[in-house]
Amino acid sequence: MYQEYHDWEKAFKGQAANEKADINTGNVWNHVKNHIPAVQRKRNWMPFWLLLSGASMLVAASLWRENDQLRVHNNSLNNQLAGYKNRLLSCEKRQINMETHHALAASNVKTIENTQSVNPTKEKINTRSVPQASATNAFSTSLPKDAPTMQENSPVYRDEVNLPSLPITKTICLLTDNIKIPGISYGMKVFGKPNLKRNFVAIAPCFGVSSLRGSLISKDLNWNSKNLYQWGAQFSFGKYLSRHWFTALQLNYLIAQNQSSFTSIKSERTEVEGTTQVLIDANGNVKTIAGPTGATTYHQINATLYNTAHQVLLSPVLGYTLFKRQQPFLSVFTSAQWLLFNQSSGKAPLGNQPLGKSLVEQWTYRQKLPSLGLGFTAYQPLYHNWQLGYGAQALYHTDQFSSAEMILNRQGVSMNLYLGLQNNF
């Protein structure tokens, strides 16, 4: 008998799966065709992002151009300074020559004076007249025996020294070593080029709290959902656009803990045949009258449930870094986060519905808009190019739980703290 029953139930199940019943589809179509929703235009963010990308590229290009111009200017100043250096060296050499000539001339005067004492008729020679040929004997302190007779009216000869018109003060960045010119100072300030790194990678565990919440209230349902806290890790790859500006791509893995409080109130009416009236007449006879009687029972289900969402997010970042002693000191940045992947485990958003295979597909979770964030990172040098980075980031989130029947929108702010390592290269 039991086998017979099981066979029937099996047959009933098969029949139910493929059962069809007559229905006038034309009639159904006429009734429902007016409810076809207008095609919802999918929000096309492409123009916005193209515009943003274009603007970012323009900013990057202008910063690059400015940087390039500075480099050209720097090279130009460097060349100028190298020219000055050559001229100064030339000047120095000529100064030495002049001193030698003066020494030679003084020696000649002494010799001539000695000669004058013998022959006082000779006129005093102009001490400034130095023959060109004597320059070859600049370091000779003794006068040759056949020293030429100095002509009284011989032309005065000296090398013309043209000192360059150097600026009194000018800040010049040199790519080469500092130039040392002893005894001569032109008030130049010379700096070495900062040893800047162009790229960085960073990895940081993070932890944060959220005030992300939403409510759905109807006549028989009160559903509140909020994101309590999250933790995870973030990996960043960044590139400096200029000395201060940088852009980075950040990959975040977060484990977010959600709490749903659920209150459902359903009413049930129970009616049975029973005594509705009891009549007692004057003689004390009791008579009962039967009729439908019943009661309404209200069932209230309260539940507080938790589920965990594993999320992978991608964030482009634009930031500005302050340097101290050629090392990053503090960065401020802005970012936009896209949800790439979300997997929930635990209970379904709607209270006491378990995450059965048939229901898990019914609920969808999505980010309504990219999460926008602001944050800062402070750095402590560790070793070589490694730094300890720590900071905080605030993000504005909007997300949505939805099923075929209901939608719950949530929005709010989350705050993440992180501590990690950064390598500049």
Binding site: A21, T25, V28, H35, N352, P354
Partner: protein
Amino acid sequence: MLSDLDIINGCKEGRESAYKALIDQYASRLMATALRYLRHKAAAEDAVQECYIRVFQSIHKYDHKDQLYPWLNKICVNQCLKELRNKVISMQPDGLLEVSEIPENQMPEGYEDAMQLALNNLPEVYRLVFNLNVADGYAHAEIAALLGITESTSRVYLTRARTILKSYLIKLNNTGYVSGVS
């Protein structure tokens, strides 16, 4: 005949032919489901229409992971239960149905029809639990959530429904019906 994917994409693009195909291909199966729960043709037709309205409103969120029919069927079942919630459902079953209670002129000729009649005459809540679990494959936890009862109550109701149907099967055999099921 359009594939499920064509129908879904067509509906998402707002093509009327896709919406019409959705009705042509699945309305009869949904009607059978609605009849199983509501038992009245007019009410079942209304439920199917309401079901399609809800499908139209939410098909843009459909994510292709499920087959289309189970999703439609689930919405149809939810709609039927919503219709039933508006009526009075007795949570106190009336007791065992007696074969003799079915009028002579309504006694079906076939064995399976007789069992179907017995199923339709089960107390409402037993019948719902039986249909949800056996015909549509809902778990007891899901049934509990849908009907606002506890999971254990759902199990008890299913057991009782089966007991009644088995008893009815015995009575049928005693009254000379021959099983058509091998």
